[in-house]
C-alpha cells in the first residue's frame, strides 16, 4: 500500500473507526492470552463469586442476538415477508452475538481446552448442558443462515461466481432453518435464565420467572439492537439503506414487548417483597437499595424500560429518528443491566449453614482490569464484525429481498400439503 493510501485510510472516518476497534481487539487479545496463560487468578472471580463480568457479556450478547430467531420466525413462519431485510440484519447480528458469547465462555471456563466435554459427556439433567448443546446447534443454524449473506460480497461474486451462487442457494432452506432456530432459541434463551432459576441454594434466584423474563428481554433487546444498528449505520454510511416504515413498525412492536416484560417484572419483584426469606430479601435489598440500586432504578427501570416505552409507543416521539434511536439504545442498555444485576444480586449474598440461624454474609465483586480489557476486546470484535458486514456484505440494505421465487415455491409446496 502506498503512503498516500495509508494516509487517506486513516484520514477517513471508516479508517479511524476500524483503527480504534483494532486497538481494543489487540488489547483484548493480549488480555485473553494472559488469562489462558495465568488462569483465572488474574481475575477478581473467587470461590464465592465464581461468575462475573464475562458471564454478563455472555448472557447479554446471546440476549441481544435474540432478534435473529424472532424476526426469522416472523418472516419465514408467519409470512411477514416485508421484514425480510430486517431479519437479514438480525441474523448477522445474531452470528456476531453468538460468537461473542463463545469467546466470553472460552475465557470464563477454567479449562477452555475442554469446552467440548459437554458435547461428549452428556448430563441430560443439566441446564448448562442443554444451553451448551443449543448454543452450538444454533450457532450452526446461524452460520447456515448467514451463508446467503456472504454471497453479497462483491469480491466473491466477481471472482468466484459459482460459489456465490451456491451460497445464495442455501436461502432455499430458510424456512426450515427458521423453525429449527425458533425451537433452539426458545429453549436456550429461557433456560439461560433457568440456570439461575433452578438453584434452590440461592433463594434470590430460585423462582420460575427468571426464565420468562430472560426470553422476553431477549426478544425486546435483540430487536431493539437490530433496529438501532440499522438506523445508526444508515446515518453513518451510504452503504446502509433503510426503509424507515419497516423499522418504525418493529420499534413499535418492541415497545409493546417491553410493556409485557415490565408487567411480568413488576409481579416478579413484588412477589418477593412479602415475608422474609434469608438470602432472598437481602438480594432484593441489594437490588433496590444497595450497591446495585442505581443500576436497577435508573439502568433497568427508568431509562431501560419506562422511558423507551413512552417514546416507542407514542407515534409522535417514535417518528423522530433520534428519539427512537435513543429509546432503542436505552433498551439494549437495560437488558445488559438486567443480566448484570441478576447475576450479582444472587452472588453477593451468602446464606449461613446453621439450622435456625438465618444469618447472611455479603461478598464483593469488582471486575479486574484484565477482565475489563478482555471484555472490551470481545465487544469490539462484535462491532468489527458488524461494521465489516455493513461495509462489504450489505447487511443493512432494505432494498434486498432474497430469492422471492424460491421462497414462493416452498410456500406453495407447503400450502399444497396443508
Amino acid at each position: 500500500m502506498k503512503a498516500s493510501n495509508i494516509k487517506s485510510f486513516f484520514g477517513s472516518a471508516w479508517g479511524r473507526w476500524i483503527s480504534i476497534l483494532s486497538l481494543f481487539l489487540v488489547m483484548g487479545l493480549g488480555a485473553g492470552l494472559i488469562v489462558f496463560w495465568k488462569g483465572l487468578s488474574v481475575t477478581h472471580l473467587s470461590d464465592l463469586v465464581p461468575w462475573g463480568l464475562w458471564i454478563t457479556i455472555d448472557l447479554s450478547s446471546i440476549a441481544l442476538a435474540g432478534g435473529a430467531f424472532f424476526l426469522c420466525a416472523g418472516v419465514y413462519l408467519l409470512g411477514l415477508k416485508q421484514y425480510q431485510p430486517v431479519a437479514r440484519t438480525a441474523t448477522f447480528i445474531g452470528l456476531a452475538g453468538y460468537t461473542m458469547a463463545m469467546l466470553a465462555l472460552m475465557l470464563d471456563i477454567g479449562r477452555p481446552d475442554r469446552f467440548w466435554h459437554a458435547i461428549i459427556y452428556w448430563n441430560e439433567h443439566s441446564l448448562l448442558w442443554e444451553v451448551t448443546m443449543c448454543v452450538c446447534l444454533y450457532l450452526t443454524v446461524l452460520v447456515l443462515e448467514v451463508l446467503p449473506i456472504l454471497s453479497s460480497f462483491d469480491w466473491l461474486r466477481k471472482h468466484f461466481p459459482v460459489i456465490a451462487e451456491k451460497l445464495e442457494g442455501v436461502h432455499h432452506y430458510a424456512p426450515y432453518l427458521a423453525i429449527v432456530g425458533l425451537c433452539l432459541s426458545m429453549l436456550h434463551q429461557s433456560s439461560l435464565g433457568a440456570i439461575y432459576g433452578v438453584l434452590k441454594a440461592r433463594p434470590y434466584w430460585f423462582r420460575p420467572d427468571i426464565a420468562v423474563l430472560f426470553i422476553m428481554s431477549a426478544i425486546a433487546g435483540g430487536m431493539a439492537l437490530t433496529v438501532f444498528a440499522s438506523m445508526l449505520s444508515a446515518r453513518l454510511t451510504k452503504r446502509a439503506v433503510i426503509k424507515d416504515e419497516l423499522l418504525d413498525r418493529v420499534a413499535y412492536f418492541v415497545g409493546w414487548i417491553m410493556v409485557a416484560y415490565l408487567y411480568f417484572r413488576f409481579w416478579d419483584a413484588l412477589s418477593m417483597t412479602y415475608t422474609y426469606e434469608a438470602g432472598r430479601t437481602e438480594g432484593l435489598n441489594i437490588l433496590t437499595s444497595g450497591v446495585l440500586s442505581f443500576n436497577f432504578w435508573f439502568g433497568e427501570m427508568l431509562l431501560g424500560a419506562v422511558l423507551p416505552i413512552i417514546i416507542l409507543l407514542r407515534k409522535k416521539t417514535r417518528s423522530n429518528p433520534v428519539l427512537r434511536m435513543i429509546a432503542l439504545a436505552l433498551i439494549v442498555g437495560g437488558v445488559v443491566a438486567y443480566r448484570w444485576d441478576t447475576n450479582l444480586s444472587g452472588l453477593l449474598v451468602l446464606v449461613s449453614y446453621m439450622p435456625g440461624e438465618p444469618t447472611v454474609r455479603y461478598t464483593m465483586y469488582r471486575p479486574s482490569i484484565i477482565e475489563w480489557i478482555a471484555g472490551l476486546g470481545i465487544i469490539s470484535y462484535g462491532l468489527t464484525l458488524f461494521s465489516l458486514g455493513v461495509r462489504y456484505l450489505h447487511v443493512v440494505d432494505h432494498r434486498i429481498y432474497e430469492q422471492e421465487r424460491q421462497t414462493a415455491k416452498v410456500e406453495s409446496a407447503e400450502t399444497a400439503t396443508a
Binding site: G39, L40, D47, G110, S126, K200, A201
Partner: protein, 206 residues
C-alpha cells in the same frame, strides 16, 4: 442392599483443632490453597475468634466438607458429567472431566465446600503425599470424596482416623447395626440446610 456411607460429627467434642483438615490435605496431596475439609468458627468471619457480645461470648466449631448429599444438586447440574454419585452414596468429582465452569459452586448450598484449583498448582513438598491416586488438574473444581480410595481398601477416611477427639464417625446408614446408625438413634442430631431438600450425608450430633 446398597450402602449409604454417612459421616457423623459430634459437635460436643470438636475442639476446632483442624487436625482433620491437615490429615485430609496430607492424604489427598492437596495443592496450596486447596482444602477439602475445614473447620468453620460459627458466627464470625475468620477463624478462632469468639462470637457474641461480651460477656456472653461463645466459640463453636463446624467441621465442613462436602456433605455427599443423597439428592445432590451438583450431580444434576454438571454439564460435562464430571460430578457423579456412586451406588454407595459418594459424590465424586472427576478432575479429568471437569471443564471449570463453576456451575456446581453456584448450586451447592454449602458455600466453601468446593475449591477452584488455580492455573498453577503449587505443593509445599517436592514429592506427593498420601495414598489418593488422584492427579490434581489445574483450573478445575475440587472437593472431598470421602476418601473413596481408602474405603475401597476397607479403611476409614483420613479425617476420621486422624481426629484426636474421636468426633468423627463413619459408616453405613443402611446397616442398622453400624456405629453411625446407633449414634443417630440415640443422640440428637441435625443436617445442614435440610430445607433445601438435598438430604446431606453428613450428620452433626449436638
Amino acid at each position: 442392599m446398597t450402602k449409604r456411607y454417612v459421616m457423623v460429627i459430634d459437635l460436643q467434642v470438636c475442639t476446632g483443632c483442624n487436625t482433620c483438615s491437615v490429615a485430609c490435605k496430607q492424604e489427598n496431596n492437596l495443592p496450596e490453597g486447596v482444602w477439602w475439609t475445614q473447620v468453620v468458627t460459627l458466627g464470625v468471619n475468620g477463624n478462632d475468634s469468639p462470637a457474641g457480645e461480651y460477656p456472653n461470648l461463645f466459640m463453636d466449631y463446624l467441621p465442613l466438607g462436602c456433605q455427599h448429599c443423597a439428592n445432590a444438586p451438583c450431580v444434576e447440574v454438571c454439564p460435562s458429567s464430571a460430578t457423579t454419585r456412586t451406588e454407595d452414596g459418594l459424590v465424586i468429582q472427576d478432575p479429568t472431566l471437569c471443564g471449570g465452569c463453576r456451575y456446581c459452586m453456584l448450586v451447592c448450598p454449602f458455600t466453601g465446600v468446593r475449591v477452584f484449583a488455580g492455573e498453577t498448582l503449587r505443593y509445599s513438598l517436592p514429592f506427593p503425599t498420601g495414598d489418593n491416586p488422584i492427579v490434581h488438574r489445574p483450573s478445575t473444581v475440587e472437593k472431598c470424596n470421602f476418601c473413596a480410595h481408602r474405603l475401597a481398601r476397607g479403611l476409614l477416611p483420613a479425617c476420621v482416623e486422624a481426629c484426636p477427639m474421636v468426633a468423627r464417625t463413619f459408616g453405613d446408614l443402611n446397616d442398622p447395626n453400624s456405629e453411625v446408625s446407633e449414634l443417630l438413634r440415640t443422640r440428637p442430631h441435625f443436617q445442614l440446610l435440610v430445607e433445601k431438600g438435598a438430604d446431606p450425608s453428613t450428620f452433626y450430633l449436638t
